[in-house]
């Protein structure tokens, strides 16, 4: 089987969705670690210096564009699979088993993924587009020769709007529900299902990616709003 055929099979496509998904899992960890600097009480010095580094380092920029391609690939193949999966049952059942035979989370991947995608567009418009292509306020800090783009202040102002804070929290609920099933599902697709490791995979999927990380993200706009 040629690679072109391999990645056109159902399992081949799932492997691409799983691999891109796991890459995105690694991204959310790095992104959250950086974002926590928004909670420092230093007028944004640490965060803005970090943002300037991330925005100008060519290796980071290369990965950042790769990241956007990965997100589109993940969404595109997943949508394709979702439509072909729906088409595989032309006549639906009159009675469905609900949560008796499968978890609710495992059946909502496409819905949660769509919520995340909409969130992502708004999120990029809020910060990424402004940072790279918009008018940004600047701030001068001791120890830096050039004034830095003040993304910290933009975030403080953005999250004074209650409806945007609510939208970010909803986005993170979407992330939580997506990853509760997503992480362990990707492991299973790669053939990793072993009683020695299943407990760990489940723990990481549910508690780290499904609960801790989304709460970590969601807490930042909420804290800024009430500050």
């Amino acid at each position: 089987m040629k690679w072109s055929q391999f990645f056109n099979t159902s399992i081949g496509k799932k492997l691409l969705v799983g691999a891109t998904g796991l890459f995105l899992c690694s991204f959310v960890i790095v992104h959250l670690a950086g974002n926590f600097q928004l909670l420092y009480n230093d007028q944004g010095k640490a965060f803005n210096a970090y943002a300037a580094f991330m925005g100008h380092n060519s290796l980071i920029q290369f990965i950042a564009w790769g990241l956007k391609i990965v997100i589109l690939l993940h969404a595109f193949i997943a949508i394709q699979l979702t439509f072909s999966n729906r088409a595989a049952r032309p006549v639906k059942y009159a009675v469905s088993p609900g949560n008796q035979t499968s978890s609710w989370f495992s059946r909502q991947m496409a819905i949660m993924g769509s919520i995340l995608f909409i969130f992502l567009i708004i999120h990029l418009a809020n910060f990424w587009a402004k940072f790279h292509y918009g008018d940004m306020p600047t701030q001068t800090y001791a120890g830096f020769e050039e004034p830095l783009k003040d993304l910290y202040r933009v975030s403080q102002e953005t999250f004074k709007q209650g409806w945007l804070v609510a939208l970010y929290v909803i986005g993170m609920i979407g992330l939580s529900f997506h990853l509760i099933h997503g992480f362990k599902s990707a492991c299973q697709t790669f053939g990793l299902n072993h009683k020695k490791y299943n407990g760990l995979i489940n723990f990481i999927g549910v508690w780290l990616f499904g609960i801790a990380i989304p709460i970590g993200f969601a807490i930042i706009p909420v804290v800024i709003y009430f500050k």
Binding site: M1, T9, S10, I11, L81, A88, V91, T101, H194
Partner: protein, 254 residues
């Protein structure tokens, strides 16, 4: 267990042939014993229909011992009904109460077209087996039983996978109509044994290719198949199929 009789209302899918639209028909099942199997209940209903000069409900059945994989009813939203690890023929009427309404549908999947009423065409499974679910051996005398050593654990896992009866409940239960549990059981039972090794690459690749060609959906790891399988085939088999398929994809020379 206390024996009791019950009267039931059945909402049964009736469809003349595969080109017919199909619709639900409401039938009454009277004086049904709690000791009857679900199929015996249908026998009683059909006898009444025949006496009334009506067309009996067509359904698949053969051994009625839970081992042939013929029976295939979706009962109140559950493949093979509400009991775990049970085929429809082994589902007994004590699972229901007097006055219950039971909805009975055929397996729903594009790859399993309805032939009539509750009978569906499952030859797609046969074509998947033909694509690679076999080993090639010389005819003649059988080898000595122990000339090929097999690890006991592997033998047990292989046997557990081989208990798949190919009923199609996994496809029926899956929201994507995926046949992965079936294919993974058939790949696993051979991949775990030395006799299955020579053809393991082509088996995984060809059976998956045929599965896709038949129009089954892809697996999203919801686990509904494992929950509904009358032989309780494990999801670990799907992980093994994925490993076999990835390995074959990487190294096969074809």
């Amino acid at each position: 267990m206390e024996h009791y009789n019950m009267n039931l209302t059945l909402k049964v899918w009736r469809q003349k042939n595969k080109n017919d639209q199909g619709r639900f028909e409401t039938l009454q099942a009277k004086d049904i014993s709690s000791e009857m199997s679900f199929l015996e209940m249908f026998d009683v209903v059909n006898e009444q229909l025949i006496n009334d000069g009506k067309d009996p409900v067509a359904f698949d059945h053969d051994c009625r011992e839970g081992i042939c994989g013929s029976c295939s009813m979706h009962i109140n939203g559950r493949a093979h009904g509400p009991w775990d690890g049970t085929t429809t023929c082994q589902l007994h009427m004590r699972a229901f109460n007097d006055g219950d309404t039971i909805t009975v549908e055929p397996w729903r999947a594009g790859a399993f077209p309805v032939i009539k009423d509750l009978t569906v065409d499952r030859t797609a499974f046969d074509r998947i087996i033909e694509a690679g679910g076999y080993i090639s051996v010389n005819t003649g005398n059988a080898q000595d039983a122990n000339c090929l050593p097999v690890d006991k654990n592997d033998a047990d896992l292989s046997f557990a996978a081989a208990s798949c009866i190919g009923c199609g409940a996994c496809v029926a239960a899956c929201k994507n109509s995926s046949a992965m549990l079936f294919v993974s059981a058939k790949v696993s039972q051979l991949a775990l044994l030395p006799q299955g090794h020579p053809e393991k690459q082509s088996r995984a690749l060809n059976m998956v290719a045929q599965m896709d060609k038949e129009g089954f959906g892809s697996c999203t790891n919801t686990g509904a198949c494992e929950a509904e399988c009358p032989k309780e085939i494990s999801l670990t088999n799907i992980a093994r199929l994925n490993r076999e398929f990835i390995g074959a994809g990487f190294s096969s020379e074809k």
